[in-house]
C-alpha cells in the first residue's frame, strides 16, 4: 500500500513518514502543495494525507487538482482549525475524512486503515476468529476453545470491533465512538473498565492472551507469538 503525505511542518512530516513506514506502508512525503500535486498526478497512490495549510498552493487546491484529474483515491485531511466551515469545505471538495491537530498517531493509523478498507468490497465473513476464539455474527454467539461465553450487547460489539481490526491498535476515543456512539473525548476510565471485563471473560484461564494494552495508545487484539 502506497501513501502520499503532503505536510510542510518538518517534524510532523518526518514522524508521519516514519510511523506509516513502520506500520508497513510505502510513504512518499512532499513538503509543499506543488510537489504534492505533482506526485499525486504522476504516481499511483492508495491514499493521500493532506495538510490544509501549505506553502504554494493549499491543501484544498491540491485536492481539487487531484479530483479534476479523475483520481479517486481516498483523501484524509489534517487541519489545525476545528472550524465547521473547514470541515464542510473539505467534504464538499471530495475529502473522505479529516483529523484535527493535535491528533494521536494511533487515531490516524486507525482512520487510514478504515479508509483503505473501504475500497475493497470483500464479503464479510459470518464468523470472526482469533486463535481458538470464535465470534458468530449471525447467531451472536461467542465461544473460546469450544466453550460458550456470555457477553452483554456492548461487550459483543466491543469484541467484534477488536476482532475485525485484529492486529491494529485502536485508540480509546475510537472505541468509545464505535461501540457507544460517544463522539467526544469522554471519561477514558470507562473503556478501561469495559476492556478489563471483556478480558476477564475471554482471556482469563486461556492461553494465549488475545487482548493487549498498547500503553498510552489504546488496545489491540492479536495472537502474539
Amino acid at each position: 500500500m502506497k501513501i502520499l503525505v503532503v505536510e510542510d511542518e518538518l517534524k510532523t512530516g518526518d514522524y508521519l513518514r516514519q510511523g506509516l513506514c513502520e506500520a508497513g506502508f510505502v510513504v512518499n512525503l512532499a513538503r509543499d502543495g506543488l510537489d504534492g500535486l505533482h506526485l499525486a498526478l504522476t504516481e499511483a497512490y492508495d491514499l493521500a494525507i493532506l495538510d490544509v495549510m501549505l506553502p504554494g498552493i493549499d491543501g484544498w487546491q491540491v485536492l481539487q487538482g487531484v479530483r479534476r484529474s479523475g483520481k479517486e483515491m481516498p483523501v484524509l485531511f489534517l487541519t489545525a482549525k476545528d472550524a465547521i466551515d473547514d470541515r464542510v469545505k473539505g467534504l464538499e471538495l471530495g475529502a473522505d475524512d479529516y483529523l484535527v491537530k493535535p491528533f494521536s498517531f494511533s487515531e490516524l493509523l486507525a482512520r487510514v486503515r478504515t479508509l483503505l478498507r473501504r475500497g475493497n468490497k470483500l464479503r464479510e465473513p459470518d464468523v470472526l476468529r482469533a486463535a481458538d476464539l470464535e465470534l458468530d455474527l449471525l447467531r451472536r454467539r461467542v465461544t473460546r476453545c469450544g466453550k460458550k461465553i456470555n457477553l452483554t450487547a456492548k461487550e459483543f460489539s466491543l469484541l467484534e470491533l477488536l476482532l475485525r481490526r485484529q492486529g491494529e491498535v485502536l485508540p480509546r476515543s475510537m472505541i468509545a465512538s464505535q461501540v457507544w456512539d460517544m463522539n467526544f473525548d469522554s471519561d477514558t476510565n470507562v473503556i478501561e473498565v469495559a476492556i478489563r471485563r471483556l478480558r476477564a471473560k475471554i482471556d482469563d484461564g486461556y492461553v494465549p492472551k488475545l487482548i493487549h494494552t498498547a500503553r498510552g495508545m489504546g488496545y489491540v487484539l492479536e495472537v502474539s507469538e
Partner: protein, 466 residues
C-alpha cells in the same frame, strides 16, 4: 431642514434655536405689519366716508347756478388742510362740476362705475390711491344726480410701511444671529454634563475597571444613560476579571505537565539507560501529552462557546433515550463501584443530540465519581405542565459541597479541593463545558448540595412547535 446625523450636537442645537426664533419673530412681524396696514386702510376709509358726507351736504345746499359758483369756495374751505385728498364732482352728463387741484392724476371719469366701498387704485402717474365715490341728488335740472369721486394719496402710508418692513427684516436677521449665538451658548452650557461624563469615562481603563461614573451630580435626563453605562462597566469588569483569571489559570495548568515532561526527560537523558527505562519515560510522557491534548481540545470548545460559535442542531431529542445511552456507557464503571443508575420520567427538547450527550456524560461521570458506594444516582426528567419547560435533575448522595464553592463550580479549572488533583478529575473543565452546552440550548443549570445530597438541575425552555 434635514440636519446632518453624527454631527456636533452643539451645532444642531444652535441651528435649531436660530431657526425657531427667527421663524417666531418673522411670524410676529408679519402679523403686526398686516394689522398696521389694515389700520391705515380703515383710517383712509373713514376719511373718505367723512369727506363724502361733507361734499354731499355741500351739494345738497346747491339750489341754483349761483350756488354752484360758490360751491368751489365752500368746498375748498371744508377740505383745507387735507393734503393728498382729491375730489371730483361729475354731473349726470359727465361734465365736471368741481375738481380739486392736481386732480389730473385721477383715473378718467367713468359714469357707470360708482365705488361704494373704498378700494385701492393706481393713478395716471402711478401713484397709489384709495378711491370712494357716491351719488348725490342736486336740485339743478340737468345735473342730477351728481357723482362725487374722492381719492386719497397713499404715498406717506406706503413710505411708512416700507420702512416698517425694512426695520422688521433687519430685526429678524439680527435676532437670528443673536439667538444662534445664545443658542450656542445655551447648548454648550446644557451639554457640559456630557463632557463631564466623557472625561470621567476616559479615566476608566483596564487597570481601573472598578471606577464608576458618579450618578449623583448628573442631571436626571442623563442619569439613565449613566446607570446603563455603569452596568456595562460592571459587566466588562466581570468578564475582564474572568478572562485574566482564565489566562493565569491556563498558564498554571499548563506549567505543571510541561515541567513534569521537561524534568522527566532531562533526568532520563542525563545518563545511559536500558531500553525498558527509556520506554517507561516515553510512556509516561505520552500520558502527559494526552492530558495536554485533551485540555487544549476542551479549551477550544469553551473558546468557541464564548464567541457564540457553538451552534447546536435543532432536532427533537428524546432526553430519556439519551440519558439511557449515557447510562449504557457508564454501566460498567457504576457496577464496579456498586452504584445503581436510575432514570425516571421523560421529556423532549429541541437540540443537538451529540452535545447534550456530552453534557449528560460529564454530569453522570461526576455523579458516579462522588457517590458513596452502594448508593444510587438518580436522573429525573419532568415536563412542567403550564410552562412547558423541561426540568432534568442529576442527583447523587455524597459528601456535601461547601456552600462557598457552589457558585464557582462551573468556573473553568475550578476544583473544590485545590490540593487534590487526581488524574481522573480531568482538567476541571467538564462542568464549564456542560454549562456552555446547556446555555447554547438556551437552558440554565444550577447546583444544590445539602443534607448529603448533591443535585444538578437543568431547565430547558419549552419546545416551540415549528
Amino acid at each position: 431642514m434635514r440636519l446632518p446625523h453624527g454631527k456636533s450636537v452643539t451645532l444642531r442645537l444652535t441651528l435649531l434655536f436660530a431657526a425657531v426664533s427667527s421663524f417666531v419673530l418673522l411670524l410676529l412681524g408679519l402679523v403686526v405689519g398686516h394689522l398696521v396696514d389694515r389700520h391705515f386702510e380703515e383710517l383712509d376709509g373713514e376719511l373718505l366716508v367723512g369727506k363724502l358726507e361733507l361734499v354731499r351736504g355741500a351739494l345738497a345746499e346747491v339750489k341754483s347756478d349761483d350756488d354752484l359758483k360758490f360751491l368751489a369756495t365752500r368746498l375748498e374751505g371744508a377740505l383745507v388742510g387735507h393734503h393728498g385728498l382729491f375730489v371730483r364732482i361729475l354731473a349726470a352728463d359727465g361734465q365736471i362740476v368741481y375738481v380739486t387741484a392736481n386732480s389730473d392724476i385721477l383715473p378718467p371719469p367713468a359714469n357707470s362705475s360708482v365705488v361704494t366701498q373704498p378700494i385701492r387704485m393706481t393713478g395716471r402717474d402711478g401713484t397709489s390711491l384709495r378711491v370712494l365715490s357716491g351719488v348725490a341728488p342736486m336740485d339743478i335740472p340737468g345735473f342730477s344726480p351728481a357723482i362725487i369721486e374722492l381719492a386719497t394719496d397713499l404715498a406717506h402710508h406706503e413710505t411708512f410701511m416700507a420702512s416698517f418692513w425694512n426695520a422688521l427684516w433687519t430685526i429678524v436677521a439680527l435676532a437670528t444671529v443673536a439667538s444662534g449665538m445664545l443658542g450656542w451658548f445655551a447648548a454648550m452650557r446644557g451639554l457640559a454634563p456630557l463632557r463631564v461624563i466623557s472625561r470621567d469615562a476616559a479615566q476608566i481603563t483596564a487597570h481601573r475597571l472598578n471606577q464608576r461614573l458618579p450618578v449623583e451630580s448628573i442631571p436626571v435626563e442623563l442619569a439613565e444613560v449613566v446607570r446603563t453605562l455603569n452596568e456595562m462597566f460592571a459587566r466588562l469588569e466581570e468578564s475582564f476579571h474572568r478572562l485574566s483569571d482564565f489566562s493565569s489559570d491556563l498558564a498554571h495548568e499548563l506549567r505543571t505537565p510541561v515541567s513534569n515532561l521537561m524534568t522527566q526527560t532531562q533526568v532520563a537523558v542525563s545518563r545511559e539507560r536500558s531500553v525498558d527505562e527509556y520506554r517507561e519515560v516515553l510512556y509516561s510522557n505520552l500520558e502527559e501529552f494526552e492530558r495536554l491534548a485533551r485540555m487544549i481540545a476542551d479549551m477550544l470548545f469553551l473558546a468557541k462557546a464564548d464567541n457564540g460559535l457553538i451552534i447546536p442542531n435543532r432536532e427533537a431529542v428524546n432526553l430519556a433515550a439519551e440519558v439511557r445511552e449515557v447510562f449504557g456507557f457508564y454501566e460498567a464503571i457504576a457496577e464496579e463501584q456498586n452504584v445503581s443508575l436510575i432514570l425516571a420520567g421523560e421529556g423532549y427538547v429541541q437540540g443537538d443530540k451529540l452535545m447534550l450527550r456530552r453534557a449528560f456524560s460529564n454530569l453522570l461521570s461526576n455523579a458516579i465519581r462522588h457517590t458513596l458506594h452502594h448508593a444510587m444516582v438518580k436522573v429525573i426528567i419532568a415536563q412542567e405542565a403550564e410552562s412547558g419547560k423541561v426540568r432534568l435533575t442529576f442527583e447523587n448522595p455524597g459528601e456535601n459541597i461547601p456552600a462557598e464553592h457552589l457558585p464557582k463550580l462551573f468556573d473553568r479549572f475550578y476544583r473544590v479541593d485545590s490540593s487534590r488533583q487526581k488524574a481522573s478529575d480531568g482538567a476541571g473543565l467538564g462542568l464549564a463545558i456542560t454549562k456552555s452546552i446547556i446555555e447554547a440550548h438556551k437552558g440554565t443549570i444550577r447546583v444544590f448540595s445539602a443534607d448529603g445530597l448533591t443535585r444538578f438541575e437543568i431547565v430547558f425552555p419549552a419546545v416551540v412547535p415549528s
